[in-house]
């Protein structure tokens, strides 16, 4: 029978490799049987307490235990919502408001922190939950009821109105994605991952699920190491890491400092990257250092479950070239739509739209935003068929490969994250002492600029923003002005401000 639940991966592997390490960080090592046991204890408790088919917040720092808690939610027939206390406070508050969860699984070290947030949920401690009895019958009953379009998780993305949107993904989409991704990147039981992405982004699907599918091992790299290139490569070698799926900035952190002259990754053979432009100079340093490794560019919005397109590098690239995003994985189609709602001609720019099983279920408790981007396929007037409009513009190059051109609106890619400049502005404008502001992006230098008019100083503003925005959304340059330029119809003149920063 065809697989309908992501946990079937774990159940097959635990029989084969019970004692092998599944996930590890500096503090905790969990074998497949420990992941299996702990997650089923969590699931049993959720069921006994009467939680079912609803969001369960996992309020824990990055750890192997957090991953077992995720699976525990799925065992209980619920869906996990990762919240890491390193996320900014106002964002967490908005997420709680959107979810209004009845259940929170918390790390015992974070009880005090959690107590500072307003919620009506029942609080459960992870270390207590895993001591509970496993209720085989209840778990089997739930499995029998679950279908493959039931949700597994919600992850939150940036919203232009300043309110994050919760993307709801289901078993069927995740299974489809993991199968395609594994084939393209050639994962196996021998795969050793070093994870880089936080667990509250869907980027971590790349390590979490292939690990249980194949009986591979995933190391959760300490975040501090991404500051220190030699130490980071030492870490990869120490754990015999052979596969990494990282944001480009983590890779260039290593190559830009000529780290390869001192030390090279010894076991690494599979490198996937994405989410932003890879400077060719840096990319070529990687290829030179690891000539036998495969390099794959990945592209995909959270709304279509992980990644959607891939390009496995098969030719040389020179300065000024763009590495394509290639072609869609099997079982999904990319349609380039023109403004008139027609298919773009060969070489013509169009909006990247995606159809297929990969489409997530939409935004949680947000039918309006969902309807804006999950729309009827304009090329099909015969029966209901949804596509997701990414808001990204693309075109096909002379090789027939898809190439990313730019964003349609003010959304940018910065440090691997999708950011709405409007969301930064909304947050700045809510601060006392600010009369107006304008946020711009210097693509060449990869800097976010913030211009503002107001009574508070640049350093006060920086301090305030750190409370409100995640690190990657903080402007790199903040400039106070006496006045902002305006266009004839009274809007802030973004074009002239953009010129001003580019002339610097």
């Amino acid at each position: 029978m065809k697989q309908k639940n992501v946990l079937e991966y774990l159940e097959k592997t635990v029989r084969r490799l019970p004692d092998k390490t599944a996930y590890a960080d500096e503090e905790t090592v969990l074998s497949f049987s420990q992941v299996y046991g702990q997650s089923r204890a969590v699931g049993s408790t959720l069921l006994e307490k009467g939680f079912y088919n609803e969001p369960v917040v996992v309020f824990m720092p990055k750890s192997p235990k957090t991953i077992a808690a995720f699976f525990g939610c799925v065992y209980g027939g619920c869906y996990y919502v990762p919240i890491d206390p390193e996320m900014p406070r106002s964002r967490i508050e908005l997420i709680f408001k959107n979810l209004d969860p009845r259940a929170i699984i918390c790390d015992s070290r974070l009880i005090d922190e959690l107590a500072t947030y307003e919620h009506n949920a029942e609080l459960m401690l992870y270390d207590e939950l895993i001591k509970n009895e496993i209720n085989e019958k209840a778990l089997a009953d739930v499995r029998d009821r679950q279908i493959d379009t039931d949700p597994i998780y919600i992850v939150f993305t940036s919203g232009s109105t300043g309110v994050p949107k919760g993307v709801v993904a289901c078993h069927r989409s995740v299974i489809d994605y993991i199968e395609q991704l594994s084939e393209v990147l050639g994962f196996s039981e021998q795969t050793v991952f070093a994870n880089q992405s936080p667990l509250y982004f869907d980027a971590c699907l790349k390590e979490l699920y292939p690990t249980i599918k194949f009986g591979a091992t995933a190391y959760l790299t300490p975040q501090n190491l991404f500051m220190f290139p030699v130490k980071l490569v030492e870490y990869l070698n120490e754990h015999k890491v052979n596969t990494i799926c990282w944001v480009v900035s983590a890779l260039t952190m290593i190559s830009a400092f000529n780290t390869f002259k001192t030390i090279k990754p010894q076991y690494l053979h599979t490198i996937a990257f994405g989410s932003e432009v890879f400077a060719i100079k840096q990319f070529n340093r990687w290829r030179e250092a690891l000539p036998d490794a495969t390099f794959t560019n990945l592209y995909g919005p959270t709304e279509t479950t992980g990644m959607c397109c891939y390009y496995r590098v098969d030719r040389e690239f020179e300065q000024g070239d763009v590495i394509p995003i290639g072609r869609p994985f099997q079982n999904r189609e990319v349609i380039l739509l023109t403004d008139e709602g027609k298919r773009a001609e060969q070489g013509e720019v169009g909006e990247i739209c995606i159809r297929g099983t990969a489409l997530t279920l939409g935004y949680y408790c947000n039918p309006q935003k969902t309807a804006e981007v999950f729309v009827q396929n304009p090329l099909n007037s015969r029966y209901p068929e949804l596509i997701y409009r990414t808001g990204d513009l693309g075109r096909l190059n002379e090789y027939g490969e898809l190439v990313f051109v730019s964003r349609k609106d003010f959304q940018i890619k910065h440090m691997g994250h999708r950011i709405e400049l409007g969301e930064i502005e909304v947050n700045v404008n809510t601060l006392p002492g600010i009369s107006m502001c304008c946020c711009l992006f210097d693509r060449q230098k990869d800097h976010i600029w913030l211009y503002y008019v107001g009574e508070i100083s640049e350093s006060e503003l920086t301090g305030e923003l750190k409370e409100k925005l995640p690190r990657y959304m903080l402007p790199n340059r903040i400039k106070k002005l006496d006045a902002l330029p305006f266009t004839a119809n009274g809007k802030i003149d973004r074009v002239s401000l953009q010129k001003r920063l580019e002339e610097k």
Binding site: M227, V230, M253, T262, M415, S459, G463, I478
Partner: protein, 75 residues
């Protein structure tokens, strides 16, 4: 020392760099900041910090960073 203090203050105007001794350990600066710091030091002071010197001990305080730059400059 002055110049380095200036570089750091431009990145984080709100941090009291003169009295902070755990910049890297307490994650006051992150990987993007390190990239910026190293490239600014190369641009303004003409000192290239090699990868093996990019370790927490050299980036925890303005003093440590200044000593590193002085040492590299003399070499």
């Amino acid at each position: 020392m002055e110049e380095i203090l200036e570089i750091l203050s431009e990145i984080h105007p709100d941090v009291d760099f003169e009295n902070e001794e755990g910049l890297a350990d307490r994650r006051i600066i992150d990987s993007l900041d390190i990239v910026t710091i190293v490239s600014e030091i190369a641009d303004r002071l003409d000192v290239v910090i090699p990868a093996e010197e990019i370790i927490p001990e050299n980036f925890n305080s303005v003093k440590a960073l200044s000593e590193l730059v002085r040492r590299l400059d003399e070499e």
